[in-house]
Symmetry: C2
């Protein structure tokens, strides 16, 4: 059975496109708060779990050893836009650990932030692995390897001690073993393990509350969330959804995008974790649903509601800036927000 339509995209008087998907909101004990669609099928969380992957950097002692502050920790959790201060931050992380950018296995692409890409070209520069949106996560893996006193080479292989530890953390937070064969290779060459949305949502409920976690792990999660709340620009960048949402709500809402229509997040004051997968992989739908869930679940004042409205039902504009349609939640459970 197909998943429900979560989001519609209109043009003129018609619905032009629609996005099906599944949504799970779960508390730290695994109780379901809201479930739409198939929340049991394993999905690749992609970059939406970078916050959890970064636990290994903190727990290994790497963050302390290299004196990382909020910016570096936020970068370890980031899918950044490759703006100059993102790149400088990742370079600083590597340099502190005595590493060069050639150690990064994430591959090269131009900055996602178009003005930064164009400025780089104008200045005669070239794209490097530092501009890759995952470079902060990879710098975190490398620094964790150094802190664990294991060779950093091959750190992106599923069998490397850093990745084995990442998998163990995911299993602990999600309260379920993950079969080894559920591995996929991410866009940045890191391993990514498929998990059900319920497991992901529970993992983020535990990440947000520390409930049921070892003390050191709970403290590491708290430190990473605080870093992202304090420096949300380093988690994404200018004009990006994750930055704007965490910039407004601070520690009240942790949200993180992943490729192929995934979003994970948490609402710590409620103890809820959130996991979303749009079946077709479109991020615009996952963003609208994330905003709709915040609007529905979190106690909001008038300013919060006004702020959220443009993310729940964004206006679509064309190249001349004319409003030509809207993105809007379609599932009844979300549209009521």
């Amino acid at each position: 059975m197909p998943n429900p339509v979560l989001v519609e995209v209109t043009r003129g008087n018609l619905v032009e496109s629609r996005h099906e998907g599944a949504v799970a909101v779960v508390d730290a004990d695994g109780a379901t708060v809201l479930a739409l669609g198939d929340v049991a099928a394993p999905i690749f969380p992609r970059s939406a779990i970078k916050g959890i992957q970064a636990l290994v950097l903190v727990e290994s002692g790497g963050a302390d050893r290299y004196g990382f502050g909020e910016e570096e920790l936020a970068l370890a959790c980031a899918s950044h836009s490759g703006e100059p201060a993102h790149v400088a931050g990742v370079e600083r992380m590597l340099r502190t650990a005595g590493l060069e950018s050639s150690a990064l296995a994430c591959g090269t692409h131009w900055p996602l932030h178009q003005p930064s890409a164009l400025a780089l070209a104008r200045a005669g520069g070239a794209a490097s692995a530092l501009h890759n949106n995952c470079s902060g996560k990879h710098a975190g893996f490398l620094c964790a390897a150094c802190a664990m006193r294991t060779a950093p080479g091959g750190y992106e292989e599923p069998g490397h001690p850093v990745q084995r530890e990442v998998k163990a953390v995911l299993e602990d937070l999600g309260c379920a073993a993950i079969p080894d064969e559920r591995v996929g290779i991410d866009g940045c060459s890191a391993p990514n393990w498929a998990m059900p949305l319920t497991g992901l949502a529970r993992a983020f409920a535990r990440f947000a509350t520390g409930r049921g976690l070892a003390e050191q792990r709970a403290a590491a999660a708290q430190r990473l969330r605080a870093a992202c709340a304090a420096k949300p620009w380093f988690v994404a960048g200018t004009g990006r959804f994750c930055t704007d949402i965490m910039g407004h709500f601070g520690a009240r809402a942790f949200v993180k995008t992943g490729a192929e229509g995934v979003f994970c997040g948490a609402l710590p004051e409620l103890g809820y974790g959130i996991a979303i997968k749009c079946d077709d992989g479109q991020g615009r739908a996952a963003e609208a649903i994330t905003a709709a869930l915040i609007a529905r679940l979190l106690p909001l004042d008038g300013g919060d509601k006004e702020f959220l409205a443009r993310f729940v039902r964004p206006v679509v504009r064309n190249w001349k800036g004319t409003a030509i349609g809207r993105i809007r939640p379609a599932a009844e459970a979300l549209a009521m927000s």
Copy 2:
């Protein structure tokens, strides 16, 4: 009832994303050759009908008056990548008609072709309306207006004589009236009218064969198809699907992408028109289905089959070039190809 899954996207051992949609293959008499999903619902064809929109340029006498050759006619049918020769061609079209780029109402964006965008920035240039992927179509509208001796200003308004004529041509080719309220504003500010996939496919069957069309209209369609077959690079650009497919098959396959997961095309030797809409708007799925339809319907030799395979089931690679998954047709009617 949802449309069938047309395309799956795999990563590792799992299907990571899937795309539903509808497909119509129809002949010039309106007989259905193949139909999947809801082919009766009106959809916005977006840029997939640029070949039909360009009929007005030829029929108005504009193409002859300004001495347009194959490159200019292909540009009028194009969603080009903004590479230097695309831009120069559109500039030439406008200059010939005594117009400047300020007459273009399509809005401005940087070239879709990233190396061209970066080279433009390196050279100290800036994006202009000429770089907009629709600038050739808009130049065609403007030249048609001049040839029709009507004021070109406001040529992008649904009530302008050029757009009224475009709508009349669409109704003629699709053999059905289009209610005025089915209009949407396209990304380039031109009006776009929603039509059912069966009507679009029939329109392209008639565009490809001339069957049932007035002699002048059939000749204009033949001239535009020949231009696109001869100069497919001007219809899209370097590394683009439409360019590659028409570059290989020449006049045997006319294919044109539209935003939000639309593809239209024709296989003239079979007399078939094709129209595809992926419900979620993802172009990767519409491309794979277009290639799968060609593979299924067109008589092919070994070289054709080898050429098509990488478009029917493209390998997905990450930033390091590692193969991490595949895009593949899922509907039985297409997977058999």
